[in-house]
């Protein structure tokens, strides 16, 4: 079951195989946005606020405009004239494209310079004078609703506080009743601090407005090119057919590249103003300080149980810090994303979840970083609470989980906050992880080490995700339903092209989606071209995030391919002069039942479909098919993770010694790619648990604004991952597959934290568990990790 490195075969369909896209990447021939050079292209740079909260009394751009290489300087005033100073956010708020009245977070966009080259544009930023009048700064979400708190969003008429929303799920009365009768209630406050996805390629865009044709061509680091195009059309009033959004190779996304940032809009304005293509590429500090952060959830969690360890109910009151603008990218009905799947993997009597969103003087965003719409926070909350309960009851945390899992025969299982879990076999995955880890031996080793004063910890996390958003009657973003299209065309010579709406950022779509077509149609993978990332050449769909590509677009491709196969059957029947009912399918060919010698291959059928043969009534020529897939439900991948750490008792340094990850995402289309996704997510988990945080000082200065301060895990912090799998197909997905891209990021932080706390014998301390913080926690004096304030 462990990840054995077999030599990849060349399967016609599912199986381990090398990626089609790698040939260009290993030659340095990837084509990322910043690699693209257009004739006459100019370069943009953004002046950003050094203050977290300040009124703008004036901006003097005259010196910048006089710079010999500067072509345009754009301020909020310029945009006001175009009606573009403010734009709708993805969450029924507005965001400032360039600040007009005041700045609301450090790093906010204040002016945009367009110049002949990158360096001159940066030079000119230094020449812009902004007259700021500093205002009181609010960085502590826990004080956002205090009387007398500075009001950040005074641009909203009548706004006198920093409240954004209250939202709840589950039944409060029932839950309170169960808590009242419970033998044991364990309560724990915990913070999932603000982190940033930090893909290696920062965000950037080139806008090229052709004034003659009126066509706007955009090259963008976008995970969702179709959504971008439609939003430009809706917001800027540009005709949608005249906008083409191209997402070329993307150097990692992790949710950072879903939304539309002011910089993107500014390249469009810059191109309209100058009549030339305008490129803007973030530097790393801009990326970390201004684009979508993740988490920032202050969670008060409670778990109720019987004294013998039966978990009865969960409830939480959570404060969500959304920064200066509410710009989370998530389905409209769910202001806290899918956080209400904090019910986890357990059979509960009741659950209730309340979330309050607030504004602070911090960068906007709120859903990013492989979180499956806040499932990360949910999984962390429940898996920490279960460990707290295990400590309270003095029950082994593995045993406590096994005792309370939803049983395999209970699926489909509707949880107390309304999610219908499609399928699962949790005990099987848990036991496999324990076997792989040698769990009992580890506990023995730990006991021996404790006798010697050595700190070793074993942490477990068992997660259930809800991914593949989603059924369009429940899920939309800005009114756009979350269904995705796919189109398959088989050429006369039997080669094929499949066009998809989702956009890879490294997940290997060019291989995986070709393998789906190969599996369903019997064409070699090498004969199938996957076209994506270009709105002019692909069907509509909402893009890649929330682990939705395979659950949604994978289904669309499978169904489109089956439609082609069905059409091929009618054509084969004509070729063989038999009734379609007399035909039998074997991968790649139709033949008369019981007589494989009559087989017509899909290639022969493709040629016939384009040839002179008379086709039956109602059958059009050519061989193609399409599908728009509206998922009937989400998919519910799950996994059992066990982390083993050693903690230095003198320094608080944590070394992750082993990490065992058993994932169940249904059948694996390309196991090599799935394992790679899991590896990356596990590194994310180690990073978030031990190193990564975007903290602020009391003046609102961002303390994670470069890779000197925002620490990402390297090869030294990461162990050699040990993977296992179980396979529980989704009953409603045509291929039985579930999403997996974010599973490891969702599931792993709790395992690492549980391991560290197990090692040091402390019930709770917040991430990131840096050496200083671990040491402080061991002294009973844990830090607040989100603020540089004692």
């Amino acid at each position: 079951m462990t990840a054995v490195e077999e030599a990849p075969a060349d399967p016609v369909g599912f199986g381990r195989m090398h990626r089609k896209e790698d040939a260009r990447f290993v030659r340095g021939q990837g084509n990322y946005v910043d690699d693209i050079v257009l004739p006459g292209m100019l370069h943009g740079a953004i002046l950003r606020s050094s203050y977290a909260h300040a009124r703008i009394n004036g901006i003097d751009t005259s010196a910048a405009e006089a710079h010999p290489k500067v072509k345009a300087v754009i301020t909020g005033k310029t945009l006001e004239g175009l009606g573009l100073a403010w734009a709708p956010s993805l969450s029924h708020d507005v965001i400032a494209i360039l600040a007009t009245d005041k700045v609301r977070f450090q790093g906010q966009e204040v002016a945009f310079v367009v110049a002949e080259d990158r360096y001159s544009a940066r030079d000119a930023l230094e020449l812009i004078e902004v007259d700021y009048e500093p205002l009181p700064v609010l960085v502590d979400a826990r004080k956002a609703l205090d009387a007398g708190a500075t009001v950040i969003r005074d641009d909203i008429e009548g706004k006198s506080d920093n409240h954004i929303f209250d939202w709840e799920s589950g039944n409060k009365e029932e839950t309170d009743a169960v808590f009242a009768k419970a033998d044991v209630v364990v309560t724990q406050d915990m913070l999932y601090p603000r982190v940033h996805p930090a893909p290696m390629e920062t965000c950037g865009q080139i806008a090229d407005m052709n004034k003659v044709t009126g066509k706007l061509t955009i090259y963008c680091t976008s995970q969702a090119p179709h959504a971008h195009r439609t939003i430009y059309a809706l917001v800027a009033g540009l005709p949608e057919h005249q906008i083409r959004v191209i997402s070329p190779d993307i150097g990692g996304g992790f949710g950072n590249k879903v939304g539309i940032y002011p910089g993107y809009v500014l390249t469009v304005v810059g191109s309209i103003v100058t009549g030339k293509p305008v490129k803007w590429t973030e530097d790393r500090s801009e990326n970390l300080m201004s684009t979508s952060f993740a988490r920032d959830y202050h969670m008060h969690g409670e778990i109720a149980a019987t004294s013998d360890g039966r978990i009865l109910a969960l409830r939480t009151k959570t404060l969500a810090d959304h920064g200066a603008f509410n710009n989370t990218a998530q389905p409209t009905k769910y202001p806290a994303g899918f956080f209400h799947i904090f019910t986890g993997s357990y059979d509960l009597e009741a659950a209730h979840c309340e979330v309050t969103g607030v504004y602070t003087n911090k960068a906007p965003g709120g859903v990013a970083y492989a979180c499956s719409f806040r499932v990360t926070e949910a999984a962390y909350l429940v898996e920490r609470l279960v460990d707290c309960l295990a400590g309270e009851l003095k029950i082994d945390p593995a045993e406590l989980r096994l005792k309370n899992f939803i049983k395999p025969e209970q699926f489909p299982y509707t949880c107390k906050t309304g999610w219908e879990y499609d399928s699962g076999d949790y005990p099987r995955a848990m036991r496999l992880a324990m076997d792989m880890a040698g769990y009992e031996d580890l506990r023995k080793e730990q006991a021996e080490k404790r006798e010697r004063g050595e700190l070793m910890g074993i942490g477990i996390s068992f997660f259930t995700e809800t991914v593949g958003a989603g059924p369009r009657k429940h899920m939309d973003i800005l009114g756009l339903g979350m269904a995705d299209g796919a189109e398959l065309r088989v050429h006369p010579t039997g080669k094929a092209v499949v066009r998809i709406s989702v956009q890879t950022q490294g997940q290997g779509h060019e291989t995986t989606f070709a393998q789906i077509v190969a599996e369903e149609l019997g064409l070699p993978v090498a004969d199938i071209d996957v076209v994506h990332g270009d709105t002019d050449n692909t069907p509509f769909g909402l893009g890649t995030y929330g682990s939705r590509s395979t659950p949604v677009s994978g289904a669309a491709v499978a169904i489109a391919t089956r439609r082609v196969r069905d059409k091929a059957k009618l054509i084969a029947a004509t070729m063989l002069e038999v009734s379609p009912d007399d035909l039998e399918w074997e991968k790649g060919k139709w033949f008369v039942k019981g007589d494989p010698s009559t087989a017509k291959t899909i290639q022969e059928i493709a040629l016939a479909a384009h040839g002179p043969m008379e086709l039956p009534e109602g059958v059009e020529g050519h061989l193609d098919g399409s599908c728009v897939y509206d998922p009937p439900n989400l998919t519910y991948p799950f996994g059992a993770y066990i982390c083993v750490v050693d903690v230095d008792s003198q320094t608080g340094h944590v070394q992750v010694r082993r990490f065992i990850a058993v994932d169940d995402c249904g059948p694996r289309i390309n196991p090599m790619i799935v394992e790679g996704q899991v590896h990356g997510g596990l590194a994310d988990g180690v990073g978030m648990a031990l190193m990564q945080v975007i903290a602020f000082d009391e003046d609102g200065n961002c303390l994670g604004g470069s890779f000197m301060d925002y620490l990402l895990p390297t090869s030294i912090e990461c162990p050699s991952w040990e993977l296992g799998e179980t396979v529980t197909p989704s009953p409603h997905h045509p291929l039985g597959v579930k999403g997996v891209g974010e599973s490891a990021t969702v599931g792993s932080p709790a395992a690492v934290v549980n391991a560290v706390l197990d090692a040091i014998g402390v019930r709770h301390a917040d991430m990131p568990l840096t050496p200083a913080h671990v040491w402080r926690a061991m002294q009973g004096n844990p830090l607040r990790t989100d603020l540089a304030i004692e």
Partner: protein
């Protein structure tokens, strides 16, 4: 100012501003976009290339400092249509996903193998510890390098 250097075996002379970073010279002036720019603080290592046979982070080098030197980039790894074993290793062991850190990672790993043809996993991890990958969790980069160590090219690759 005028700067002359050898890039992937060819002599190039260009007029540049003295402050131009080598990473931007290679990318924007020469159009060799396999070398990437990922941070401003020499932490991420996506800009690694060879300068006089030593891997350097090219965001820490001013272009005039490369004057008279030999620069080699990812575009020069493949020779006569044959992939370098490190390139093949990255493909075979799934050592890359988004591909952004990959060129620089391959250069560091190639350089390690040139000096230590049979490195342990820990030695590989140490060699790449100055570079960041957000996709792979590093495990498959280690395996890719081991694959290359186990399948050396018939012809010696010179750095």
């Amino acid at each position: 100012m005028q700067v002359t250097m050898t890039v992937n075996g060819e002599k190039v002379t260009r007029d540049v501003e003295p402050r131009l970073l080598l990473v931007h010279f290679v990318r924007d002036v020469l159009g060799l976009t396999g070398t990437h720019w990922g941070c401003d603080t020499s932490n991420c290592g996506t800009c690694v290339l060879w300068m006089d046979g030593e891997p350097v982070k090219s965001c820490t080098v001013l272009t005039p400092m490369a004057g008279g030197r030999e620069i080699r980039t990812v575009e020069d790894l493949e020779r006569d249509g044959e992939l370098d074993p490190i390139q093949q290793g990255f493909i075979n062991e799934h050592g890359l996903q988004c591909g952004f850190c990959t060129p620089a990672m391959m250069i560091t790993c190639r350089d390690l193998l040139d000096h230590n043809p049979d490195p342990s996993n820990d030695e590989i991890r140490e060699a790449i510890s100055g570079q960041i990958c957000r996709c792979t969790g590093y495990e498959n980069i280690v395996r890719a390098t081991r694959w290359a160590a186990d399948h050396p090219a018939t012809e010696e690759v010179t750095a």
